[in-house]
Symmetry: none
Subunit: 192 residues, 4 copies
């Protein structure tokens, strides 16, 4: 039984098209027909790869989030000193946001609107586990403030989302010197 197989390329193209349209126009202005056209497939083809529009968005979210996380923890190892580890992760994230503004922006939309299933959002949260672990270790070593991870994340990581958005929209650029300043602010806000 020889058959054509589902092409990973088409799936990729669809996810990419969705990312681009949602980014530029918002979920409500990213109709399946446009997504199909941008991906160079028939509208009906979308439904071979995804159950429906929500599923398409959910899968895109999980995929982007997971790529983001992979990037976030590269060159990081659990054996590193806490500050060194945090510095690596923080820079990975900052660079990702600078280099992949489309993906970053999409994640921001997902995290601030009800467009993603609660289930998928929960799934996506798992990706930052290693960072939480690092902070735990930092706390036990007396290096990191003994506060809940929400606060740590809010001050150490979340500001990067704002800077990325600003960079995309306003005349602002997170150059090396600013990045250093931003890192310092991040570290100052969580270290003891």
């Amino acid at each position: 039984m020889v058959t054509r197989v589902k092409s990973p390329d088409k799936r990729k193209a669809l996810l990419k098209a969705t990312l681009s349209l949602v980014n530029n126009n918002g979920f409500h202005a990213a109709p399946m027909s446009k997504i199909a056209k941008l991906a160079n497939v028939s509208p009906a083809t979308i439904y071979i790869y995804f159950k429906n529009k929500q599923d398409l968005i959910n899968q895109l979210y999980l995929e982007v989030k997971s790529a983001f996380s992979e990037h976030a923890f590269q060159n990081f190892s659990e054996e590193m000193p806490v500050k060194k580890g945090f510095e690596i992760i923080w820079n990975n994230i900052a660079n990702y946001k600078i280099d992949q503004p489309e993906e970053s922006n999409f994640l921001s939309q997902c995290d601030n609107t009800p467009m993603i299933d609660e289930k998928s959002r929960q799934e996506g949260l798992k990706n930052i586990e290693p960072l939480l672990k690092l902070w735990e270790r930092g706390k036990s070593e007396g290096i990191i403030k003994d506060v809940c991870p929400y606060i740590l994340y809010a001050y150490a990581i979340y500001p990067l989302a704002f800077l990325m958005t600003a960079q995309q929209r306003e005349d602002f650029e997170l150059k090396e010197d600013l990045k250093a300043i931003a890192f310092q602010a991040a570290w100052d806000s969580i270290r003891i």
Copy 2:
């Protein structure tokens, strides 16, 4: 002869209905018909008060943003010492986010998606002028780090949006002690 006028109540009801629907379902699931129903008016009536859906959203954004700002700067005066002034503003904002989660959440959606006109967004930005001025003064007094306002905002104010979202979604509550910690982190990140 009776001169009927546009009823401010209806306008308010429409804005409130829109806020609620966009918050809970997202822009893409907030049709005019539902907005009308929730506001107890006819769909056609919406077009007496607003030019179209985009205009409705834009006006809602500006209105909420302006109410937010009014709140943000209450009890604040330009004569105050920088730290005192910042403390007041920061607490105003924190309390607003805690007390008005619907409005806060809506602003988050607007700020992270393309649902608002660029023009309206620019308009909305003007509201934080006094804070920027305060920071300028702080810089000249050598109290505040000499960095662009994007970075100051990212670390001093923006984290509150994350904490508010977390509070609404996760089992997290920004109680008084955490608020104190959060303020400290905010202040640490911008002060020299």
Copy 3:
């Protein structure tokens, strides 16, 4: 508050269009767009009068069935002798089927396919109550066979559906003489 009101004409036109299309093409070839076109309204207008396609079909069924029944029992009164009463009803039904072939054919389709909701079908059955009552009386008077109404109906009334279908499709016409013969057969099959 002055407003245009739902026009009974449009509703009627939609029901009529549906009847005609389903009759000639079957449910599966009666798309909403064609129904709308035939009724001279926009497709969207259908949804003002009916919840969805199923509702449209259900309502049509109930309306046709009820018109049929009204016709079936005209000039009939419960005081009549059983045979006289049955003769009137039978002839009413026969004439209806001859004069309203569209409606009759539609009811046949509904009764022999799963296109109608079970609930609506049950509702439609209520319309023949008076005939069942008449038969009950006939049984107690020793005139009608003491068998369940299904059998009485199968032999006394149901054959007319076949004759109507034949008349519409084949070169057959239920003229007065044949009608008399058919009535005789009907009566013979249920009388003692």
Copy 4:
């Protein structure tokens, strides 16, 4: 070299799947994809055995009709006395409807909707020739009423379709005693 041939099993499976789906959901809710799934083949395979959906339905109709007829005339011979012959045929048909409700119901749908090609319907009609012949003989022997076959069929055979439908849908069962009564009614309606 192996010569693969069309598998009769697959064809059968497809016809069976179609029968089942049309019966339970109606023609309009029996998509080729579901038929394929139920028959455990690929949608594309259907088109090896049938030209298109209409052809599939037509062939199914003819096949079921012909199986029905075969059943209807078993143990019947043209030499039999008219009443005896009719009794055998009638009972064959009654038993078939009781034992094969799926097939019977399907034939009912076909006979009362436009889902079958006119040509196939005509083709299917040929199957009852022996019954018509028997009635002709009955007429010439002065046993059967001298009326057109439509009327004879309407009263002698067609009621069984109603009883079968009732049995499937309502709390009614055509047991032996009722069958005898039904036969009597059938015979009464056509004999002189």
